[in-house]
Symmetry: none
Subunit: 203 residues, 4 copies
DNA sequence: AATGAATGAGATTTCATTCAT
DNA sequence: CATGAATGAAATCTCATTCAT
């Protein structure tokens, strides 16, 4: 008796056990990334994602029991990537100039073009549960706060909090400016603006 | 995304002739705004929009032959609103302080909460044709450029172009910061940052 | 964005407005009756039911937004039929012999062969919500109680209650005995047994 | 009801060789009993049954190559149980009063609550092949006939045949009356009714 | 012109069964 | 043997759009 759509309120991805399975999951995730990035969450279909990965639809559902679970897994993967980048910035925070530090921060979101577009799409999709969306946002903000604290330990918690919000939004703008004409100059100006403000803060 | 039976490649909104019709169109647009803002473009259904406006579904299709045409009309309406605001800024550009000017610009997107959320949703929706999305974006950029030129006529066309891109993205960030904790302080910092940069440019 | 299976917890059948619609609903209900009776609730598919009625699947869902709603409508229709029969018995309860009265009661379920098989199938189906099932059962019991009270007003409420339970189960057995070899003699015996007991009670 | 990949028209349960296997089969059967009783044949899934028995799905298919075969095995087991009870009644048929005899017969189906609910579910399921269903029914009828013959050897074969049909249906009613309000009085009345009829027959 | 019932392609999800490991 | 990941046919339900009334 098919029909009961996933009754579990929060279904999560199942981990593969065999080595072939792990490879297959990799393919499925990549297929999902490009499909979501291209079509958006709602317009992308599970059937198309499976087809893109040359996998039968049943396999897709073996690992991701729900379209939502698939989105969640993707966001988690991207979250891990961002955290790693931010951790790296923490490590070198005191060994670089302010300009370099600004650059590192502002470029956090600029790697992995497709994954980022996918993540941004999912973050905007009203159909994706707010939980996962909030998780990624918070993770990005706290990671940025960590980097700022590593660079400017003299700032209070509140100041760090607010600065992190500012910087995160500056990061996002960097990405969006790529679609405009002459993105190089636009980003250079943006960089200057943020560096100026950061310099004023940190002192 | 069910079957699109419409084969017309580009359907646009039809203008109503009588005053009763104009009132009805108004209601339909408003219903569409809230529905799109709440559910997103894909999840919102034409039936629900008509119901929200207490209008029969046939009426909705009378004026907006396509879901896409409806989105387009909404974006056009919002575009007009933004242009008006930017025009007003042009007029007073030379009579205000730099801080006030910055404030005016950064707050351009902060009015009409629901309409803005609707517009941003539609701008992200991959299902809405890129044309209308590009139109609104360009309109916002050129309007901003006009305001900047009114304030700083000494800048070259290129410089204005780039500055407009920067400012537009700064405007967007103002909106996004509203969802974070302590948006007041975040926005104040942001304002300071942009004012600093604007001051450096304009001279 | 299809996918959200009927989120309304209890969807009910929608009434048709046009005359063609009423005819169509009739056809759909009849198709559903035979299909459920033949295949059972779970094995019967909405697609097959629509096809049997030569109706597009969309039309089926127009009137019965859920497979469950369809079952409910069927049970309600059968309920109405049974109530009518029991009311008729009430009217003639005092004008017939005990044997005739027994006969009338025991034969209540023996008309409308297919509808009855459909109803019994639905009553057993674990997938049909208990509510509708209980409704029909109670309706049958209270209708029978009414008939018994009309015949034997001297009995207490409790006695009527219990007698109704007994008689209802006797009715059901009448139906089941139809599948055995020599159903005529079996039913005659059954009739004698119940009549004997009824005679002993009523006095 | 998803695709039945099994092309074997009639698959039956395989007997286990080792004692550990016999234990496992026992667990699987018990898990199947409760699952079928709770969810019905169609809604119960092989995966869930295996999980309930804490057995891998492969093991389940080792012993019962088909969902149908599993149902068949369950019905056979229940058949054996009923036959044993009826045999016991045969043995004591001449040593008890008519009231006791009636009681014994009417209570045949009242033991093993879950197994019985499972069996009744399977008997109603249109998806279970008619063969096994008929087998159990016939077995119950012939067993009952045996008991009646042991008690009343003077009756002709035809009379026994018909009486068995009547008694079997009386048994079933006893079970169904358990769900109504005041089942004790209902059953007492039922008992009186059947005893009265049996007395009239046997003489 | 106005209405809203009718349509059907297509989306998500399930699960009996197999077979590689 | 034992296991449980893999498969894909098939089921339920949605909704943009049309067109008869």
């Amino acid at each position: 008796m098919p029909s009961q759509k996933s009754n579990a309120t929060s279904a999560t991805a199942r981990a593969p056990k065999r080595s072939r399975g792990r490879r297959r999951v990799e393919d499925l995730l990549n297929a999902a990334v490009t499909t979501f990035a291209d079509k958006g969450f709602d317009a992308a279909t599970m059937t198309e994602i499976a087809a893109t990965a040359s996998a039968p639809i049943g396999s897709l559902y073996q690992f991701f029991p729900t379209k939502t679970a698939l989105a969640q897994a993707l966001l988690a993967r991207y979250d891990a990537h961002l955290s790693a980048r931010l951790d790296a910035i923490c490590d070198s925070a005191t060994e670089v100039t302010l300009g370099e530090f600004t650059s590192l921060l502002l470029n956090v979101l600029m790697s992995l073009e497709v994954e980022r577009r996918c993540a941004m799409t999912l973050l905007e999709a009203h159909t994706v549960p707010p939980d996962c969306r909030k998780t990624l946002r918070r993770s990005l903000r706290t990671g940025t706060a960590r980097a700022l604290r590593a660079r400017a330990p003299e700032l209070s918690d509140d100041e760090i909090e607010v600065a992190a919000v500012v910087v995160v939004n500056a990061m996002k703008a960097m990405v969006h400016m790529g679609e405009e004409a002459d993105p190089v100059r636009a980003r250079a100006n943006w960089h200057a603006m943020v560096e100026g403000w950061l310099g004023a803060q940190c002192h």
